[in-house]
Symmetry: C2
Subunit: 450 residues, 2 copies
């Protein structure tokens, strides 16, 4: 929620108040329209290819941003806005082009703020949909898979980047952390589509993915908070890890004990809009508490969802939050895409070879680390360890959220940023394809044995 | 959507980036929490008193703002923030108090922007819920009642303020315009509660209220646009009235012809969140078009709702938009309340007598003008003209939206602003009470004659 105020340049002071307001409205509404329409077009395309829509939103951003049309350009990248767009807006608003550019840059922080609302709503929804009971049901096996699925990619990524490529510790840790999450949504939809969601493998993967989200967000909260201090001494690390773990443990505890109180309160409310308002209050309280004790607001948003995951009203809350997520989280994902400069990975430029190698390394480490976690449990019954491992591979929206937060905190170099994007895109594209191949090959076997 | 960027003071540059972000998050989240919780407490109280919740949100703002605790203080009022609140935030964020005040002021425009999103969503919803068919069904009688119910309060208010109190034309016209709307929601709920919604009187009032919203928003769009030019010559007025009327007529036409195309498009969309996204695109396109031809974005938002009011998916759109409205429009109404300085109406200060007389005049004119509209139709059957007139009295949320837009455009003096608030509160409180009294007295009569 960084909102750097900019000085009002003389240029804008020369405009009348009404003229300025008209130009601001046109820039605001026009920019939102372009973002939402482009995201929807790509999402519709990917849905028809049976691929995750989240990637469509990211690709829409890449097309609109630094690597494409230059229609949506974050001011801190210092890049030039498309001159065609400037001329169109300038002629509609009857305002000189440099003034349009100023208004564009001045209103960008508020766009990022709106995107932030979407991010927190999405994290809240992710927490809300965490089926802690599913995790408990599969128990030990899911827990060892989850822990291995966090530790292996994290260790491979972080130490690999530091040892092989000489990356600094903070960005290396951050890149490693961005490899820890597993996208429940994508895996669940592929398993569900092939009627394998209730299989042993499906249950283990879903349980482990729930836990991976929790572990990943704890690591993320610690890394982003650490990066502010710019030192890596044991004291602050232990304090932050302790605070983050405690925060999540308290949230899980509250999901058992406080949910009835929340339900009672919700039943007392009679004015309309009670579900979204009560959810918003829990979400905000958790963000406020997390920030006040030195953790990331993102962890608070997720914990708020965890607390309500056991409410009788979970369905109603989901219904109320989803429109907010559909609108605002889309903006968040598109904005991530706009800031990515894919030209740093252009293989025809020899200067980029190094960055490309890093990207390929991250992608391979991300896939190998998760697949290996499929062997990280004991089982008396025959279990397809390839299915479990592949099911853990897609990073999806959680990987992108991590990337977005890292970009906001200015932790990453452009080539590391692009490498993480490729890692997220690669795992998210490849996992459904590979899973379908493996599942289709063994589906008849599974049915015969059941 | 005014977003004046402010210079980043040296004070904030002395803070570390992380410290600044923590303080910003605490100010942001804390302020939103206070607004939403206070609004909810008052709304729950008023719902139990069978009074409109919208007044509760306004009262919450009055309590939190300039006239009360000074917790939520719009920076342009130059008022001092509560020192207790400053100290609390400063100690939580480990930031000196002047820096908290700076952050508070710098982030306020983004809060107003979020409130603006709520306003446009609410206007869209109002348009969406306009049952144009109901208007057509009651036909001529509703139309003459609506036109009289717009013209009488508008003329009484505007010319009364100019002739009796020497108010300048633009603020006088604006105050008159704020008296034109009728709140469908409040009237419909009282008529419904007493089972009179399907009576002749109920049908005429609901039909007329739909038309009043349309006429009121056209007048508002013209007045706000005019005020920018700060001159009142016939040419621009006619041009604006023509454009606004044309805009609404086209929207009504599109609601008949374009709704099937919209429904077809919506059926083609397969990625999740399609209803809110498609609605948002229509809303934004209409806002963009209205702004580009020199009208208010508010008119565009309302017209967007009108266009979709005939869609097969109206119910789904309402369900998707309502959470956004419940959260963000609440902020809009609370912010209106925070900016109201009720002390300008304190009767113990002789300097305020004049403002008080204006307020009482506006309230009486607002009530008398609408009650008189109950006689503005011919009817062969016996019709209770008092019921029709009283049903038109409550201004509710539409009156407040007008006030909010007038405040944003800096059109009104503090005493005129306070007078309009009293007019909106007075009509909205009194109408349900009077209607219940009259309906209860005549209910037995109506049943006996039917």
């Amino acid at each position: 929620m960084v909102l750097p105020p900019l000085p009002l340049p003389d240029l804008l002071l020369q405009l009348g108040a009404h003229q300025l307001e008209v130009a601001e409205t046109l820039v605001w509404v026009g920019r939102l329209l372009v973002i939402v329409v482009a995201a929807r077009l790509f999402a519709e395309l990917l849905v028809r290819l049976q691929l995750p829509t989240i990637l469509g939103e990211l690709l829409a951003g890449v097309l609109l941003g630094l690597s494409g049309l230059h229609w949506i350009v974050p001011p801190d990248t210092q890049a030039q806005l498309s001159s065609g767009l400037l001329q169109l807006l300038g002629s509609l608003a009857h305002v000189p082009l440099p003034a349009v550019q100023e208004i564009y840059n001045d209103t960008f922080p508020s766009l990022q703020l709106v995107a932030g609302l979407g991010l927190y709503a999405l994290l809240f929804l992710t927490g809300l949909e965490s089926e802690l009971d599913e995790l408990v049901a599969v128990g030990g096996q899911a827990i060892t898979v989850a822990v291995a699925g966090v530790l292996l990619p994290f260790a491979l990524g972080t130490f690999g980047l530091m040892a092989l490529f000489g990356v600094e510790p903070i960005p290396a840790i951050f890149a490693g952390a961005s490899m820890t999450a597993t996208s429940i949504g994508i895996t669940a939809s592929v398993f569900g589509e092939l009627k394998m969601l209730r299989s042993r493998e499906g249950q283990i993967v879903i349980g482990a993915a729930v836990l991976d989200d929790i572990l990943g967000i704890v690591i993320l909260a610690v890394v982003v908070s650490l990066s502010a201090g710019e030192s890596l001494s044991a004291g602050p690390i232990l304090r932050l890890v302790g605070a983050a773990v405690l925060f999540v443990v308290v949230a899980i505890g509250l999901s058992r004990t406080a949910a009835p109180a929340f339900d009672w309160l919700l039943d007392q409310l009679k004015a309309p809009g009670e579900v979204i308002v009560a959810s918003f209050v829990v979400l905000s309280l958790c963000c406020f508490a997390a920030t006040a004790i030195g953790l990331e607001a993102a962890l608070g948003a997720f914990a708020g969802g965890l607390i309500l995951s056991n409410s009788r009203h979970t369905k109603a809350i989901q219904e109320a939050v989803k429109p907010v997520v559909a609108l605002f989280a889309t903006i968040f994902f598109v904005l991530i895409g706009t800031g990515i400069d894919l030209s740093v990975l252009d293989p025809t430029d020899p200067a980029n070879r190094y960055g490309l190698v890093v990207a390929v390394f991250l992608l391979l480490a991300a896939i190998a680390g998760k697949i290996a976690s499929g062997w990280a449990f004991l089982s008396a019954q025959p279990t397809d360890r390839w299915l479990v491992g592949l099911g853990m591979v897609p990073r999806g929206e959680v990987g992108l959220i991590f990337l977005g937060l890292g970009t906001q905190a200015h932790l990453l170099s452009p080539s590391l940023e692009a490498a993480i994007v490729l890692m997220v895109i690669g795992t998210t594209f490849l996992a459904p394809v590979l899973l379908r191949l493996v599942l289709a090959g063994r589906g008849t076997l599974a049915e015969a044995s059941s």
